[in-house]
Amino acid sequence: MTPSAPAAVAAPAVRLAGITKRFGDTTAVHPVTLEIGQNEFFSILGPSGCGKTTLMRMITGFETPTDGSIELAGSSVDGVPTRKRDLNMLFQSYALFPHLTVFENVAFELRVRKAPKRELRSRVEAALNLVRLGHLADRKPDQLSGGQRQRVALARAVVSRPAVVLLDEPLGALDQQLRKEMQIELKRMQREVGITFIYVTHDQEEALTMSDRIAVMSQGRLLQVGSPQDIYDRPASTFVAAFIGSCNVIPAVNTGAPGTVTVAGVGPVPAVGGDAALSGAEVWVAVRPERVAASAVRTPGAAQGTLLEAVYIGDRWRYVVRLGEATVTASVDSAEVSPELAALAPGAPVWLSWRPEHARVLTE
């Protein structure tokens, strides 16, 4: 089970070449170059205001890029109006037409594009069945719940089988329970209908569980593009490490010794990937809390710190430890907490360790 971009036999569904957007003198999107494969579930993840929506709006054609060019399925769409692009957008507000029934909302595109009458009914019904709303075809949007509206919007976006569907935080307005259900539903649908999904979210868990690939954005720039495992286990920068899941980012110095870097007040700690940095350079070590082992007794190769806080969160214990000048969190499975460790009080010495391959040296 290695999710990766589907084999690039055909042209990519979307190709962005140096796409840029400036509003006056603020740059919302710095040049972005990216290829999104056919049938790929591609997520764009980033904090609020980082340019996700702007990037999507350029792909749909609602915004004209200041610079760069866009290709859909191998042909340039620069200057092509939205209605002539083979893609649909699912708006965060759903944008259902309030004066039309569920059926007519879904049928809108087929009617506008003059699909044969005979086909229309069966295609709309198929799309409604896909989102399990066949029984509500005659309702108006204001007679539906939030989740149902969301499904209607989805049916409307896929009824014409566009090559690409763009979803801008489609689950943002739903409660936790419904979100989880819809995540599964969306993923199922995307697999069934075989459409490229470009999915904007700022929920990193959502991105990790659903995507084939994820692009992490910050301040209008693409920081890293890769599979969920890549992004989670091999973050390319401290921003990505800290943004996806929780991660300890510990300042250190590269001493040139292979396999270790030096943390002030602690000494050498194991970490991989330091070769890229110059000797003597300031770097960071990124290590996930669940990869950090904590011990109440001195262990060879472990770094000694001071316990600041121990928090019980059901299946795990969270130990917050002062390590030199840094604060490091270790998340330990409750079943593996030794009696000595469980007995520790704040202020007591703790020894932290991790496997070298679980700690990465980051230079930015």
Binding site: F62, T82, R83, M89, F91, F97, P98, V112, R156
Partner: protein, 262 residues
């Protein structure tokens, strides 16, 4: 205290409606004088419809009113669309410019229009009068339609375009059905504004473009005739028709300045 208020309310109602009722009652008075009651008769209505000159002015008023209302609704819709959709440079300035005629005294507007027309050597006619009426009806129509459009989800037109609709299809399939009642309200209010106008008509009308209000006004100089009562009764009927077409709720919303719901 409450009873005092209730009585004042009743008095206001009497004050508002006595003239209206009086006009209707006297329009059926067989006697020519308002001081005597000569029994019920439809003779003034008959005379009204035989008065060719008066009917001609009614025709002029209808043509001017319908043309001005149509243009005001059309241009007002486009202006409202532009002003509510796009953050144009000078957005506030344009809005101010469109709405200014609402507060400029009509007499000033009329005089200004007249001097523009004579400066540009345009002969006064029905056409110039329609332009004059457009100046006073456009702000009304724009305000009503801006209210309706700004209460719509701004992503709806984008969604329509995304689903393959051309700008025209977006209008006919989405914007028009959702703003239908506001368009009707804008048209009818523009029409009544134009239809009852005297000042602008005086300045911008040419020879042969006398409107009904101008004609009535000149007739009144020689005293109220029963014929005018009959005309007044008919106009009241027309107004009631318009108000019920727009819908009382809609009317109240518009006059209260809030947005009419689609």
């Amino acid at each position: 205290m409450d009873r005092v208020v209730a009585w004042i309310a009743r008095l206001v109602f009497v004050f508002l409606y006595v003239p209206i009722v009086a006009v209707i009652v006297y329009s059926f008075n067989a006697s020519r004088s308002t001081s005597t009651w000569g029994g019920v008769s439809l003779q003034w209505y008959g005379e009204l419809f035989r008065d060719g000159a008066l009917l001609q002015t009614l025709r002029t008023s209808l043509i001017v009113g319908i043309s001005a209302a149509f243009l005001a609704t059309l241009i007002g819709f486009l202006a409202a669309l532009g002003l509510s959709r796009y953050r144009l440079r000078g957005h506030r300035f344009v809005l101010g410019a469109v709405l200014l005629p609402l507060i400029v005294p009509e007499i000033v507007l009329g005089a200004a229009l007249l001097s523009v027309f004579s400066f540009a050597d345009i002969r006064l006619s029905i056409f110039t009068m329609v332009l004059g009426h457009l100046v006073i009806t456009l702000p009304l129509a724009t305000l009503i339609l801006m209210g309706a459009l700004s209460s719509l989800d701004p992503t709806l037109p984008e969604a329509a375009a995304d689903l393959g609709a051309s700008p025209w299809q977006t209008f006919t399939r989405v914007l028009f059905p959702l703003t239908r009642s506001a368009l009707l309200a804008a048209f009818l209010l523009s029409f009544t504004t134009s239809f009852s106008n005297i000042v602008i008509s005086t300045f911008t009308g040419g020879v042969g473009s006398t409107t009904l209000p101008l004609r009535v006004y000149s007739l009144l100089k020689t005293g109220v005739t029963p014929e005018i009562n009959a005309l007044g009764a008919l106009l009241i009927l027309l107004t009631i028709g318009i108000v019920s077409a727009v819908g009382l709720r809609q009317m109240r919303r518009i006059l209260a300045g809030s947005t009419p719901t689609p």
